[in-house]
Symmetry: C2
Subunit: 163 residues, 2 copies
């Protein structure tokens, strides 16, 4: 309703990448498997984040992706803007093409403060905070997974990959 599936995947993936932020590249396939995100779809999302300088990629064996910026510097707003553009923050609620302050739609003025607050919240929320919450097990990143499952415990039940 608020975010596209792309943005959702982008946020989840970046949290996962930041969790493994040891300087090594995380293979996209691993992200896809652990978070249950369709592999090829994720690939394209990460390509966008790469062009936006949020992550960097490396091909070949032991390649993958890693953060290019400090997770304390990456806001959730920035992620959403990279993937969805600014529709969430600026498009008219009733989709009137020229809705603005001079001749707004009936909901414009009522909505404006709320979406402003939303944008403020998202621009003040840094990736690092969400990562901390996941790491402390206060929140979950997927419907079934616990943090422990993200890290090389032992016998990884090999799931069929989502290619």
């Amino acid at each position: 309703m608020y975010l596209t599936q792309k943005s959702i995947y982008a946020i989840q993936a970046l949290i996962f990448i930041a969790l493994n932020n040891s300087g090594e590249f995380v293979p996209i396939r691993e992200i896809s498997n652990k978070l249950n995100i369709p592999f090829h779809f994720l690939t394209k999302i990460l390509q966008v984040l790469s062009k936006q300088q949020i992550i960097e990629t490396c091909r070949g064996p032991s390649g993958g992706v890693r953060l290019r910026q400090d997770p304390n510097q990456i806001s959730i707003e920035q992620i959403i803007l990279s993937i969805d553009g600014d529709r969430l923050f600026s498009e008219c609620i009733l989709k009137l093409p020229d809705c603005g302050n001079s001749k707004p739609c009936p909901l414009h003025d009522l909505f404006a403060p709320i979406r402003e607050e939303l944008q403020k919240m998202l621009s003040n929320t840094m990736l690092a905070l969400l990562v901390k919450m996941v790491r402390d097990n206060q929140v979950k990143l997927t419907s079934v997974t616990q943090v422990q499952d993200f890290f090389p415990g032992q016998k990884q039940t090999k799931k069929p990959d989502h290619s």
Copy 2:
């Protein structure tokens, strides 16, 4: 981004119907023409609003639709709920199926107050208020139309209908 096209059309149509709230039935074709809403699509939306007791319909010559409730009693929230259900107010931002207060998603707690405020605003905003704003020409209902155009002024340039 926030509302589906159906909800948007529903809100616009109800404002238009309330503008013509003289006790007579407003033909759906007229709403469709004046607001540039696809006729058959609008028909189905209004059928839902009819089942929800928000409007009543009448077939046959000089038939159409009219409000069943006082526009002061119809909230925008109610319209959205009728058409889209409560997804806007309750569905997890990251679409985690079991995101709740016990084990939420990373954005749950940050989003909660904002969407609560959104719901409060929409439940406090009554159709009558939006109607007044349109009537007073403070806001516009479609991208091009002025209030005067809604009422039988004179030579109506007959547009091709959107069937």
